[in-house]
């Protein structure tokens, strides 16, 4: 086999597409061939640079837009807090009795019957 053929096997090896038997033969050759070893190192470095680019791309995407996960948790949380504040506000309001006073006043202003008298 020529070095060119071994280097084609290097390409398959780094992709996990070379069988065990051929990998054994390839490594035997690599142990004695500096040129093919350099090809292996360079192809791995090429892959590493591509992965660096993908990592940078992913980081840029994350910085550019809020994640779905954050949105998925934030929106229900805001809704829950809003509902809680509303509930607490109403409870506070009605416990002071002001709610009924305002209702009475509003009913009178709009000419509607006032709250029914308490039969007890």
């Amino acid at each position: 086999m020529t070095c060119d053929e071994y280097q084609e096997q290097v390409s398959q090896y780094i992709d996990g597409e070379l069988g065990d038997k051929d990998s054994g033969i390839l490594f035997k050759h690599l142990s004695s061939c500096a040129e093919c070893r350099l090809f292996l190192r360079s192809t791995l470095e090429l892959r590493s640079k591509i992965h660096d680019e993908m990592l940078m791309e992913a980081q840029n995407q994350l910085q550019a837009q809020p994640s779905r996960l954050t949105t998925a948790f934030t929106l229900p949380l805001v809704a829950l807090l809003a509902a809680l504040f509303l509930f607490l506000g109403i409870t506070q309001f009605s416990s002071t009795g002001q709610y009924y006073q305002i209702s009475d006043r509003t009913s009178v202003e709009f000419g509607q019957p006032a709250l029914p008298p308490n039969p007890f």
Binding site: Q7, E8, S11, Q12, D15, G16, E17, F39, R41, S42, T43, E45, L46, R47, K49, I50, D52, E53, M54, M56, E57, Q61
Partner: protein
């Protein structure tokens, strides 16, 4: 898959949301034109929606979408080239001007070199390195044999490594 085949619009929306970035990246790196890549993405998803019934249960959704994307890209390239031939023994489509790489980081130089490969060499690098597809799946996407995938990947890598030798040397 069942929801998609039943024409569920929400399921198709999820498919679009999930795969759009990868379809766009593949189209952009093949075409090197952001506007055109956007058009190809739209076309891809329109075609995908109308052809969803042809999708086999066993198929990878990404591979299927990238096959459609590739067909759209090549359709465009065929239209825009007078000779319509994208295959050649030489792997380079154009030379990178030296001032384009001076002062750049190795990562950017690698990107620039990949962009200079001919589309049929560039696509196998994209599918293997960016999408991490096995040879059999790449062969399905490009409509060729696994042997052709092996050979093209090797030629593309050999050419890239040769051009990048000075930059890799600097770092190591």
């Amino acid at each position: 898959m069942i929801r998609l085949k039943a024409g569920d619009a929400e399921a198709f929306g999820e498919l679009y949301f999930r795969y759009r970035p990868r379809v766009y990246r593949f189209a952009l790196k093949l075409l090197r034109d952001a506007d055109l890549a956007e058009d190809i993405v739209q076309e891809t998803f329109l075609k995908a929606r109308s052809a969803i019934q042809n999708l086999l249960q066993s198929s990878s959704l990404l591979a299927w979408l990238l096959t459609i994307t590739r067909n759209e890209v090549y359709g465009h390239l065929r239209k825009s080239r007078s000779n319509g031939d994208v295959s050649d023994e030489d792997v380079w489509e154009s030379e990178t001007p030296i001032d384009e790489v001076v002062g750049k980081e190795t990562v950017e130089i690698v990107q620039s070199m990949i962009a200079q490969l001919k589309p049929d060499y560039r696509e196998v690098i994209l599918l293997r390195e960016y999408e991490q597809m096995p040879y059999a799946e790449i062969a399905r996407v490009i409509g060729d044999t696994e042997s052709a995938v092996k050979a093209r990947l090797f030629k593309a890598r050999k050419a890239l490594v040769k051009k990048l030798k000075p930059y890799f040397g600097e770092q190591s």
